[in-house]
């Protein structure tokens, strides 16, 4: 089998740059932010609910500090995932370049952005990391602004 061909065929392998970026890094870039968002979300809800279970006033200062620390750590992990994805995106510009270069219209060129499986995951990682970083920021904002248990 030719290295960059699908078995038994003449077509180019869908991920010619697959050996250039570690699959673990790609996976971290794609899933790091959603996973840390999920973990931080559960931690925040658990801590806030337990703190408010015994009071109708505000959670203690240490509880608030804990929420903010969790948010900060989560945001850093999401940013790290974003960075890794951007690095992978930048280092695989050549993947799918032939397809893009042969595009007959600008619209087709736009449609094929992310062509090449490695670049697809990298671009997906940029998007997922950005969306979930924003989600973590929303939670951080909530933790800063909402200070009352208010039951």
């Amino acid at each position: 089998m030719a290295q960059d061909e699908t078995i038994g065929s003449h077509a180019e392998h869908p991920a010619p740059a697959r050996h250039e970026v570690d699959i673990g890094l790609l996976a971290f870039g794609l899933m790091g932010a959603p996973v840390i968002w999920g973990v931080h979300f559960l931690a925040n809800v658990t801590i806030a609910s337990r703190a408010c279970a015994s009071t109708e006033m505000s959670p203690s200062a240490s509880t608030h500090a804990a929420l903010l620390v969790i948010d900060a750590v989560a945001a850093l992990v999401a940013l790290a995932a974003l960075y890794v994805s951007m690095q992978a995106w930048g280092s695989t510009r050549h993947e799918g370049a032939d397809t893009r270069a042969s595009s007959t219209t600008p619209e087709h060129h736009a449609a094929e952005v992310g062509e090449g499986r490695t670049r697809f995951i990298a671009l997906g990682g940029i998007m997922m990391s950005t969306v979930f970083f924003i989600a973590i920021l929303f939670d951080t904002f909530a933790a800063i602004v909402v200070t009352s248990c208010g039951k």
Binding site: T6, I7, G8, S9, H10, A11, E12, H13, P14, A15, R18, P34, W37, G38, F41, N44, V45, A48, S49, A51, C52, A53, P59, T99, S102, S103, T104, E107, H108, A110, A111, E112, V113, G114, E115, G116, R117, R119, F120, I121, L123, G124, M127, M128, V131, F132, I134, A135, F138, D139, F141, A142, A143, V145, V146, T147, S148, C149, G150, K151
Partner: protein, 650 residues
């Protein structure tokens, strides 16, 4: 599906021929007659059955809704008693959410996936049949309660303590509880089948960045179902135990928590809401390019926004519970997630609009439904954004505003794209075109009727009309709005009726479709309409997202549908790797079988025995299930793994 060892060599590529097609026909054809009806494992037959059954439940649920709208058309109406009204709104919700919305999408996915993938069938054909039979029997099980006059009567989300034994002593809730556990089996096995099918049976070269977007939607929904169905099955089991064996999971007196029900239900319920819209959004993402004559703008963003929506969807369940007394700090996190979820949804909307903008839209009936869906999605999304805010939700909760929102979301993002999908893929399924003129009438009646019916509900809600009331006083000022809503809902129903007329007439007299009537670009259009039992004479090879559009898009010759692997010496299809779809095995597929039907039937009797407390019946049925499973799992007489040297026959 029985996987075989990784192959180091593959057979040569061959061209389709009549002889090859005849051999494949003999291998893959379902037995004729009634025997074939019960034994079929063909994904196309199962898909169509799913669609027809789900549509039957849609019609039942729709009739229930029309009865309710007649009751609410004016103040102090006496068409229905409060008890009848309770049963109707509950059955309406159950029918639409559980028996129509997900199964109809499963039907389309079942039918289309192997065709989109260039495969011969789903990964687990017998599991696929089991999924259908258990869905059908679970639906009939729940509707048996309705026929017996003891239908579930506490709303589709079935809140405790209304559903506890003390408040609801009849058998009504037991029907629902056991029926939902039963239905959960169907959903779970079906979801597992979708995930494995995607991972193992895509055509060579169809890497994950080349899959149609509807596949992303169903994959995401399936993964979510696998994770969340256990939550609702557990909740219903606990409720059944509370009601029948005196446990106290949800009763306050002995340490239980009614709010636990809400958590368990909505941990399932909200991801489920996304699961019943994301595949339908995929229809729009894959349908719009056909009628806009260009590829989807932002494929990667749309595909991944599907996944992002689902992932965020796991963190929003408490927005159904903002009024339950949970602390403000905890609520704020759920509110934040509920607001952020609009970001990936908006990405998809902008990509659809850009596709229309940059394309050359052809205003077919299908295009009308897809464009209509975008408009309704935006309206439903905006009202959802409003209720994501805790203080706003406190004002709107349990009012008709929420009823308006859920209908904009579920009809707008499920029913409209599903009807659009009918107009798009009905020619593939039947070989006949649906009538376009009727189709446009169908669309405008549904679109106008829907907005006339459901938009005023926003105002009714803002004026304070609570949901689930069986009548109201003329002094409330809701009369005119309710009359308009009733008129709109009947107009909408006439539109749906016109669609059914179109299907029936077109099946007999529709224009012959041919393999690719829309000049579309994906693999399902490379085979005949309707497709043969084996789908493709040779397994195609994929080199881009639009294998049939490559010439015009400048990807000349990357894909091949004219030459491929034959696999004509047994029911076999190609196994490929998960990310890049590299061929790595030959998968042996099972043929017609009674086992799925028998297992579904035996399971039905397990639940009937549990419902009526005839334990010997439940026990015998359970033993029958075990016997069927023993036969099911019996090793094939053919070797499960074909060594490489023996694979030379292909």
């Amino acid at each position: 599906m029985q996987s075989q060892d990784r192959l180091t060599a593959l057979p040569p590529l061959v061209a389709p021929s009549p002889e090859l097609a005849a051999r494949l026909q003999a291998l893959w054809e379902t037995a004729p007659g009634l025997r074939g009806f019960f034994m079929s494992v063909d994904h196309k037959e199962i898909g169509i059955r799913y669609i027809v059954t789900a549509f039957a439940f849609l019609i039942l649920g729709g009739c229930e809704a029309l009865l309710m709208r007649l009751q609410l058309a004016g103040p102090n109406m006496r068409l229905l008693t409060p008890e009848q009204y309770d049963e109707l709104f509950t059955m309406h919700g159950i029918s639409m959410i559980f028996l129509y919305a997900m199964p109809v999408l499963s039907g389309f996915s079942n039918y289309l996936w192997p065709l989109l993938f260039g495969a011969r069938d789903m990964a687990f054909p017998r599991v696929n049949a089991l999924s259908y039979w258990t869905f059908l029997f679970a639906g009939l099980f729940i509707y048996a309660a309705f026929i017996m006059g003891v239908a579930p009567n506490a709303g589709w989300f079935n809140y405790v303590p209304y559903t506890g034994k003390a408040a609801n002593p009849g058998i009504n809730i037991d029907f629902y509880a056991l029926g939902m556990i039963f239905l959960g089996i169907s959903t779970t096995v079906g979801s597992i089948n979708f995930v494995v099918t995607l991972m193992r049976t895509r055509a060579p070269g169809m890497s994950i960045n080349r899959m149609p977007v509807m596949v992303w939607g169903t994959l995401t929904a399936s993964l979510a179902n696998i994770l969340v169905v256990p939550s609702v099955s557990l909740a219903f089991l606990m409720l059944w135990l509370d009601r029948n064996f005196g446990t106290h999971f949800f009763t306050v007196g002995d340490g239980g928590q009614p709010v636990l029900w809400q958590h368990l239900f909505w941990m399932f319920g909200h991801p489920w809401v996304y699961a019943i819209v994301l595949p339908a959004m995929g229809f729009v993402s894959d349908g719009l390019p056909i009628f806009c004559r260009r590829p989807l703008v932002g494929y990667t963003l749309v595909a991944l926004s599907t996944v992002a929506t689902m992932a965020l969807g796991f963190g929003v369940w408490v927005h159904h519970m903002f009024a339950t007394g949970i602390s403000d700090v905890a609520l704020s996190f759920f509110s934040g997630a509920s607001l952020v979820i609009t970001v990936p949804s908006a990405i998809a909307v902008f990509c659809w609009i850009a596709t229309i903008w940059a394309g050359r839209p052809i205003a077919t009936a299908a295009f009308h439904f897809y464009a209509g869906m975008i408009a309704l999605f935006v309206i439903g999304g905006v009202s959802g954004f409003m209720t994501a805010s805790v203080p706003v939700d406190w004002q709107l909760t349990d009012t008709y505003f929420v009823v308006a929102h859920i209908h904009y979301v579920l009809i707008g993002i499920n029913v409209f794209p599903v009807i659009g999908a009918f107009y798009t893929w009905f020619p593939k399924m039947s070989g006949r075109m649906l009538d376009e003129r009727l189709g446009k009438w169908n669309f405008w009646l549904m679109f106008i009727g829907f907005n006339l019916g459901f938009f005023p509900m926003h105002i009714s809600g803002l004026l304070g009309m609570p949901r689930r009331i069986y009548t109201y006083s003329p002094d409330m000022g809701w009369s005119t709005l309710n009359l308009i809503t009733t008129l709109g809902s009947f107009l909408f129903a006439i539109g749906v009726l016109l669609f059914i007329v179109n299907v029936v007439v077109s099946l007999r007299r529709g224009a012959v479709a041919g393999p690719n009537p829309w000049d579309a670009g994906t693999l399902e259009w490379a085979t005949s309409s309707p497709p043969p039992p084996y789908n493709f004479t040779v397994i195609p090879e994929v080199g881009s997202r639009h294998p049939l559009w490559e010439d015009r898009l400048g990807d000349a010759g990357a894909s091949s549908v004219a030459r491929g692997f034959a696999f004509d010496e047994g029911r076999e299809t190609l196994g490929t790797s998960m990310l890049d779809s590299e061929p790595d095995s030959v998968l042996r597929m099972p043929g017609d079988s009674w086992l799925p039907f028998l297992l579904g039937l035996a399971t039905t009797f397990v639940f009937i025995g549990m419902l009526i407390h005839v334990w010997w019946l439940a026990g015998m049925a359970l033993i029958a299930c075990a016997v069927v499973l023993i036969f099911w799992l019996q090793p094939d007489s053919l070797p499960p793994l074909i060594p490489i040297e023996e694979a030379s026959h292909v």
